[in-house]
């Protein structure tokens, strides 16, 4: 089923993307953000909230920020406090939250001592977490595999307990991955809500407690249906790094992770979310967790046929950004979507070509294919037709992860029966059409091949332009879905800071990681 495309052009696209990513790196590496720092505190074990229900990690960061001490970073001040008080991170966090401890007024300890302490704490943390992660991988490997693609469904009741009931039903009926849709616009919150939640708009809040409940339910479901069921959630947003940390702590398998989504569709500040993204991806890479990106969003509001290349552009850039953050291709799930107008002639052929092209450009990536949404109407029968054809393209082109379309896409977040009907269709297509990729070939000189070459050429063009302008300027000039965002505009810029002289983050320290992996004594 391979499309005849120039490997030369592909290599060039990668080079361009690499240089674009390089520039971003250079700019963000001296920076950190409040949410990166909060994620560090969560990793070393600070959890819970104070009386006013403000998360302790927020109290901690606000506390040092208020005193202009943020630049040295969370771990410096935590380490200092531990040495000064001999207390545990948690109790220090609690006292800061209660306002009964002023970190900055504590006697300053020597930087080397603090660093030594923190490296030790971090190494132990890493060791335990890596151990947990390994057990989970074992569990996955010991369960029988299902044929690709993984069938990914969402639950979105707003109530974690209802989510769990529906997730279990979906798992029982063949779902390979279940995502809990977040309460609308959680990405705009600069904190992660605490505890178990049963109220949300169009989704359920991402919280550590909710993650834990769902994880337990899905592990039970995995055992029952003798098939590993993956837990998915969203970390793009102002708390990208922090939610990534929660994902690691709670054992999630897949995290939706894309700064571009935040910038374009949530008006987040580009620098803030790029810094957050970098660390979140570093962390997820460390724990060999899959990320999936949000290119599907890019063609939801523009002409999806003419402007399709923007999807490929974003994928090339996302691939490089993730690799620079230390991820391996096998964990970088690049996103794309089947959003062509059904009124378009030959739309099925074009979707087939686009899906195959993505597969071919990123052969190692667990690409995530998104279903038709924007052209769905309240006609649930026709929506089912569109999704069936989408399922066929997914199976045929051997996509890795497929988010199933819903017959009621244009009406409400899925009802329990909608999810079943979608799984039923996808399971049938997976069983009926699994061999197509092997059995069929494209006419080397057909329209399909021509379309593929043209898409690649246009992608090369825009990447060239972006490489010249730089990513920041391109985002300001509307290169992405005709949306314009300014470098310092958007939410969350005030949460960005330049790392100071005492700043430290041993999680980034190769040596610490190596020793943790080896399980050496701290």
């Amino acid at each position: 089923m391979r499309l005849p495309i120039s490997t030369e052009k592909v290599r060039h696209c990668r080079q361009l993307a690499a240089s674009i990513a390089q520039e971003v790196e250079a700019e963000i590496s001296p920076l950190s953000t409040v949410s990166v720092e909060r994620s560090l505190l969560r990793l070393v074990g600070i959890e819970g909230a104070n009386q006013e229900n403000v998360p302790l990690v927020n109290c901690f960061i606000d506390h040092i920020a208020r005193q202009r001490a943020l630049e040295d970073g969370a771990l410096y001040w935590l380490g200092n406090a531990i040495l000064a008080t001999g207390e545990s991170p948690q109790s220090i966090g609690e006292r800061v939250g209660a306002g009964s401890l002023d970190l900055v007024r504590l006697p300053r300890q020597p930087r080397p001592a603090i660093e030594k302490l923190c490296r030790g704490i971090v190494q132990d943390t890493l060791a335990t977490l890596l151990g947990k992660r390994q057990q989970r991988r074992k569990m996955e490997e010991n369960l029988p595999r299902t044929p690709p693609p993984w069938l990914y469904v969402i639950v979105a009741t707003g109530n974690i307990y209802d989510d769990i009931e529906q997730a279990k039903a979906a798992a029982e009926k063949g779902a390979d991955a279940v995502a809990v849709i977040r309460s609308t616009a959680q990405s705009l919150l600069d904190y992660v809500p605490e505890g178990i939640t049963t109220e949300g708009f169009g989704g359920t809040f991402a919280t550590g407690a909710n993650y834990r409940l769902m994880r337990g339910a899905l592990d039970e479901a995995s055992r029952q249906s003798n098939r590993y069921v993956r837990q998915v959630n969203y970390c793009s947003g102002l708390c990208m790094a922090e939610i990534a940390a929660l994902g690691v702590l709670e054992g999630l398998d897949i995290l939706v992770n894309d700064a571009l989504y935040g910038i374009l569709f949530r008006d987040l500040n580009m620098i803030r979310t790029m810094v957050d993204q970098h660390f979140s991806r570093y962390l997820l890479g460390l724990f060999d967790t899959i990320i999936v990106t949000g290119e599907d969003n890019l063609i939801k509001t523009i002409d999806a046929f003419e402007e399709y290349p923007i999807v490929l552009v974003s994928q090339f850039i996302n691939e490089q950004l993730a690799k620079n953050a230390g991820m391996r291709e096998e964990r970088i799930g690049l996103g794309h979507a089947a959003e062509l107008d059904p009124a378009l002639e030959d739309s099925f052929l074009w979707e087939l070509v686009q899906a195959q092209l993505v597969r071919q450009l990123f052969p190692r990536s667990p690409v995530k294919f998104m279903p038709p949404t924007r052209y769905k109407s309240g006609n649930i029968f026709f929506a089912h037709v569109l999704d069936t054809l989408f399922n066929l393209v997914s199976v045929w082109t051997e996509q890795a992860i497929v988010l199933l379309g819903m017959p009621t896409e244009a009406i409400h977040t899925p009802y329990v029966q909608d999810r079943y009907l979608s799984l039923e269709s996808a399971l049938h297509v997976r069983r009926a059409a699994g061999a197509l990729g092997r059995e069929l070939r494209f006419q080397p000189n057909g329209q399909g091949a021509a379309r593929a070459r043209q898409l690649l050429a246009k992608t090369e063009e825009s990447l060239t332009r972006i490489a010249e302008e730089g990513l920041w300027n391109s985002l300001s000039s509307g290169a992405f879905s005709a949306i314009r965002r300014t470098r310092h505009g958007g939410r969350g810029y005030d949460g960005v800071f330049r790392k100071g002289q005492f700043y430290l983050n041993p999680f980034l320290d190769r040596e610490v990681v190596r020793r943790a992996r080896r399980g050496e004594e701290a």
């Binding site: 209802d162 279990k168 006609n379 009406i411 009802y415 329990v416």
Partner: protein, 247 residues
């Protein structure tokens, strides 16, 4: 999901939201008026929070509507009364055993799809040795003697057989139910047997995908089977009923 026992309501996205989906066509061309008509029909069916989410022109003055709404209807789990009872199934050996040693006879079963109905697959699924859904059919049971008359059998012909052979069970299939064709056929046969005075001598059983068991009993059948029936279910019922008769 832990099942609610007392009050059961439709479930869309959360317990007791009462969500239902409804669709129907109207003999009106699509317009604001026809949309209102559709909504008020849903209203008259007692739905609340009605959302008309699709209104389609079907051409030539027809239109189609898909609606979602909620219903306050709730039913009492305990109070549910079953028409087609889930009988405890016997197994192949038990059945033959009971026939041989308790009923002490080989049972003659005659099957037919009557009237102009040409559908045989359903009846064959019950009778043919091959069987259905992994279960072997009645022909495989040593203690059953099966006579399969096939399809398009006039009721008269069925009557003939009952005169010529020692028929214990009649299995009648009806698949075509348009304009209640099947009811006419079933009623006619039952009446003929009454007239003949042989009705009590045999078990009269019918089946088919669209058979309403209540109605079937009303027109004089002993039992009726619906879609997905398995040979075992039929065999089990036959044995029980025949044994009951002998007591």
């Amino acid at each position: 999901m832990t099942e609610p026992q007392s009050s059961i309501r439709p479930y869309g996205d959360r317990l007791n939201d009462g969500a239902v989906q409804l669709s129907f066509s109207l003999p009106m061309s699509l317009s604001a008026r026809s949309r209102e008509a559709a909504k008020s029909i849903a209203g008259r069916l007692g739905l609340d929070r009605i959302r008309l989410i699709s209104a389609l022109d079907l051409g030539n003055g027809f239109s189609y509507y898909i609606l979602y709404g909620t219903t306050a209807v709730e039913i009492d789990g305990q109070a549910i009364h079953l028409t087609d009872v889930e009988r405890p199934l016997l197994d192949f050996w038990r059945i033959n055993h009971l026939l041989e040693f308790e009923l002490k006879k080989r049972v003659t079963v005659v099957g037919a799809t009557i009237g102009t109905d040409a559908h045989t697959v359903g009846l064959d699924a019950i009778l043919n040795a091959k069987g259905f859904g992994g279960e072997s059919g009645l022909e495989r049971y040593p203690q059953f003697r099966v006579v399969n008359l096939g399809a398009q059998v006039p009721p008269e012909e069925v009557l003939e057989i009952t005169r010529e052979e020692p028929v214990d069970v009649l299995l009648i299939s009806q698949v075509v139910t348009q304009r209640n064709a099947h009811l006419e056929n079933l009623t006619l046969l039952a009446e003929m047997l009454e007239a003949e005075g042989t009705r009590q001598d045999l078990l009269l059983i019918c089946g088919g995908p669209y058979i309403d068991s209540q109605v079937a009993l009303e027109v004089g059948f002993d039992a009726a089977f619906g879609p997905g029936t398995t040979p075992l279910a039929v065999a089990s019922l036959i044995v029980e009923e025949l044994l009951r008769k002998t007591r």
